[in-house]
Symmetry: C2
Subunit: 313 residues, 2 copies
């Protein structure tokens, strides 16, 4: 029996193997995705992002535990920050609840972010498609919220939760605009700590304006993930948001846009590959660099010449 | 007299105007850059990166002040984090030393990071070329170190300084691998605060291994930027590093690689534009999305078809 057949029979080993193929972009991975595509579109994707140390993993674990108790199957994709140079993920300080990993309905996958396109691993979306095709009801995608990451989270998830802790004042300051735009639900985790209440109030006051825009309440939920406090409320808000986006047609609109951006990404990726080969073939790049260093050429003129010579203009 | 002539006569207004043209990628900006290119290659670029609230701006200001006192002209590019959605920079809490802005030899420019390609504004490199052509001896590029940003800093700067504060333990944890790889010099700023010494020691112990690699000492410098403590030592280390990279041929190698990546970036950018137009022309993307939603097509097959139809394969 081949890998895809085993996968369709809910074989977890086959699932793991296919995810690895997709994650490494091994030869034939796009063919596998093309075959799995008809089975996708059923899973609901929850994104959890926030600064380092805000307790995203604990929150993801608690949410998963609750969903699992309600009979739902869950896939967790934990994207870990990586050195863009070594490619190794920092999974060392990730200590998962033992109970979670042993639950039959739960599948956990850690991915390195690779640093290729921003924070989210470049194949996060594809891996979530695999989990979707496998039949997971929910996919929880958890990632450190730094810079560009957030945009990718929006693009991949149906509901995005942004997690703060009372200590992340500086972070909020720096990221305010971006995070405010992408979050559907705000969490103040470690809410027993000093400053938690004032942070929640600050968020509330910033959100007042936003709330009038499209009818969604943009809730601020206080949690203590490690003590399992506030998790049920958070889950309820996620369900509320799911209903909201379904009712307003946002969900379908979002899916359409995701498909479009996926197609564009695939085309661009391929064209980049083709271009690199052509640059090497048509261009003696070392010679051009030499000329540029001597002040006899410049990158702008050189790239224009390339496009003409490659018949791309 | 036209803009370029004024620029060549060191007119600061012309400099500002040209930077604006380049930053906005206004029509003709590549032509301007091509004309300025022969005048570039003399400025030394110092990158300063670190978490929000680590005092990067104060450090950049102090370094600039010292360089200016030594008769050097300096350009500062301050890249501020931006909402990827609104495009507005958060320059509000940036309070520059008044003295600095009035120094004739100093030019300060704030840029929004746009969120287009990672943290560094996509035209940061180009703006630094303009300042280089203008005749600045040093260019200080200051940016929030979040995720992907660092790679861009490396690509743009000759010496990269990473700034920590005693409070940034979590940040170090998350970013350790990446930051360790890119930094030439480490700074523990706000060194009068609790935990500063142990952070410096932690860095030292991590760096021991790295130091054996290529002969550079990877110094850890303790500073209190707002009290002007440790700045001279930091500057000396920057000078040391400049000598080191010059002597080892790293500087020239780095320049060559930058030129190559600049050419590739320009070509890719243009091809992306061309592709998007072709996708619209050849493809009825709405119809394809419809089919995909019905399970009768998938993004992988669709993108392959596009590449064939557009004669790009």
């Amino acid at each position: 029996m081949n890998l895809l057949d085993k996968f369709k029979q809910k074989d977890k080993v086959a699932l793991s193997k296919i995810i690895t193929l997709v994650e490494n972009q091994s030869p034939g991975y796009q063919d596998i995705l093309a075959r799995l595509y008809p089975y996708t579109g059923k899973a609901y994707r929850i994104g959890i992002t926030g600064p380092p140390g805000s307790g995203k993993s604990s929150l993801a674990d608690r949410l998963t535990f609750n969903l699992s108790n309600q009979g739902k199957s869950v896939g967790i994709i934990a994207v870990d920050p990586t050195s863009p140079f070594t490619g190794g993920a920092l999974l060392g300080d990730r200590i998962r609840m033992q109970d979670l990993a042993t639950l039959k309905s739960v599948f956990i996958r850690s991915m390195a972010s690779r640093g290729s396109m921003g924070g989210l691993a470049s194949t996060t979306k594809e891996v979530s498609l695999v989990l979707d095709a496998f039949g997971k009801d929910y996919i929880v995608i958890e990632t450190v919220g730094v810079g560009q990451v957030e945009l990718d989270v929006v693009d991949t998830c149906d509901t995005t939760v942004v997690v703060f802790v009372p200590e992340s004042g500086d972070y909020i300051q720096a990221m305010k605009a971006g995070l405010m735009e992408i979050a559907d639900i705000f969490v103040v985790n470690k809410s027993d700590r000093e400053g938690a209440q004032s942070m929640a109030l600050e968020l509330e006051s910033i959100l007042d304006l936003k709330r009038k825009e499209n009818g969604w309440e943009y809730p601020v939920v206080s949690t203590q993930a490690i003590n399992n406090i506030g998790i049920e409320k958070l889950l309820q808000k996620i369900f509320d948001h799911r209903q909201f986006v379904a009712k307003n047609g946002f969900f379908e609109k979002h899916r359409r846009e995701q498909i479009k951006s996926e197609i564009k990404k695939l085309i661009e990726h391929k064209i980049k590959e083709i271009t690199e080969k052509r640059v090497e073939k048509i261009f003696d790049i070392e010679k051009i660099v030499e000329k540029i260093l001597l002040g006899k050429d410049d990158p702008y003129s050189a790239s224009e010449r390339f496009l003409k010579e490659a018949n791309l203009l």
